[in-house]
Amino acid sequence: MPRKFRLGVIALRAFVVIFFVFMLAPILVVFVASFGTRDYVSFPMEGFSLKWYWRVYEYKPFLNSLIFSIELAIASTILAGLLGVPAGLALSRARSNLGQFVTMFLLAPLSIPLIVLGLALLYYMSLLGFGIGFWSLLIGHAVVGLPYIVRTVTAVHRSLDIGIEESASILGATRWQIVLHVTLPLIRSAMFAGFLFCMLSSLDNLTISFFFGTATTSTLPVVMLSYLEYQFDPSIAAIGVIQMLLTITVLLVVDRVYGLGKLNIAD
């Protein structure tokens, strides 16, 4: 292999390594900072302490909002799932213009700036009488999370051999039976990947949640944000690490039980 070419590849490889240092840096830094001993974030680190984790436990808004965020994420994913899975199954093989239009429509919330949607939803909900609170948040998060589910279900159902569903039909299965006994078991792992993305988007959603925040219905990101406006101490780091570990655990569990397979995210 010509030398000039090899240098090029080495340089590219080095670039990739630096890139991933860049990608992981903030996360690692936060991880390390969460064990600081000082009352503010500082380097070099003087010691190793778990006191900020204790602080998270003590500071009620953190813990309460974490629990609330998890409840909201689960609830909104269930809602988005109930709406999105049937839609995804129906649209996966639609070749008509109407079908493609509806697919695009269901994926549209991904493209709309959340801050505009949040503001619009706030006044619309108060008009409808929903006010701010759990139900409004639930609806808002479901709207934003729906595209993740539709996208994953559509993609994986499309790759399924249609002959399998036709076989089931000839063998006497009604529509419900086909979905229950054949379709769902076969798309299960991708479906759970979609659910996972939906939950993550809900957990991390700050912009929409911020409009609906009250004392009792604030989500974790909103609480973290307001905390950061006044303080710069490592407890943010600690709660961030806790959330991250929770997410990774769920991911591993779901993968172990159902297998996540390949995630087709670029589509």
Partner: protein
């Protein structure tokens, strides 16, 4: 000819009928389309200070607000360009050179999405702060004696945004690159082109669709970006989302905020339309 069952008449398109899209469609119309329409129409019935016409007039004529709109677009452009320049090589490496490490790379790209955006942005603050990591390193190396203010709002914000959005660019480009037949590149090389020429004349043009998709996506997402700017901008950056936030929190001028939101919405719709054109071109 009469038929009792629609299934036989319409033909079999899979187990699920088209009616199964209705719940989600109705849901989105009710809680996505209507709120945005409601927001769009807000203020057109009032007159004077509160009216929509006044709002839009102010937004489009007063220097400060025009400047904000321009800053939003410029920031999006900057982030998009940097993401493209940095992301393309990564995508190229991922598709062409990474065999065993491909899964690892994809995981590393997605991993940041598993953490809270507040946490990631906080991480950048920590890196750049007076008592932060970079300052410590610089002092240890001996380049500086005292902590310096690395937190140039603009630079930090751009870095933060690129960090969040570059995975989208990389994945868009890599999926298109993956579809390029290697043999086209090999043919070019047999015909005498060196690696650089092959890249510029064959690979790059064929990957344009990925570049466009990724760029439009990143541009659109930066337009609506909010958290990173709020936490890293240090008050020096004024974009539309930030302004909307301030209008809402401080002045409570809802109509004005709505108007700003609508302008942002128009930008998003233009981007969506552009994306459609790119997809249509493929088909």
């Amino acid at each position: 000819m009469l038929s009792r069952s629609n299934a036989a008449r319409i033909g079999f398109r899979g187990a699920v009928g088209f009616a199964w899209v209705l719940p989600s469609t109705v849901f989105l119309i009710a809680f996505f389309v209507f709120p945005l329409i409601h927001n769009g129409l807000k203020g057109f019935t009032e007159s004077g200070e509160q009216s929509a016409v006044t709002s839009y007039a102010r937004l489009l004529t007063e220097a400060y607000y025009l400047g904000t709109i321009v800053q939003t677009l410029v920031l999006s452009l900057v982030v998009t360009l940097i993401s493209l320049l940095l992301g393309y090589p990564i995508a190229y490496y991922l598709v062409r050179y990474a065999d065993k490490s491909a899964n690892l790379i994809i995981f590393l790209l997605i991993a940041p999405l598993l953490t809270s955006i507040v946490m990631r942005t906080f991480g950048w603050k920590v890196l750049f702060a007076r008592t932060g990591l970079l300052n410590m390193l610089l002092q240890q190396i001996g380049l500086t004696v005292r902590p310096i203010n690395l937190m140039n709002g603009y630079v930090a914000t751009v870095i933060g945004l690129v960090h969040v959005l570059i995975p989208f660019m990389v994945l868009s480009i890599s999926s298109v690159l993956r579809g390029i037949d290697r043999r086209l590149e090999e043919s070019a090389q047999i015909l005498g082109a060196n690696k650089l020429q092959t890249f510029l004349l064959i690979t790059l043009p064929l990957s344009v669709e990925g570049i466009l998709t990724g760029s439009i996506l990143v541009f659109m997402l930066t337009n609506g970006a909010f958290v990173s700017i709020l936490l890293l901008g240090q008050g020096t950056i004024h974009t539309l989302p930030l302004l909307i936030y301030q209008q809402f929190m401080v002045t409570r001028d809802v109509n004005f905020a709505s108007a700003m939101g609508n302008i942002l919405l128009v930008f998003a719709l233009v981007c969506l339309f552009a994306q459609l054109r790119v997809l249509r071109r493929r088909n």
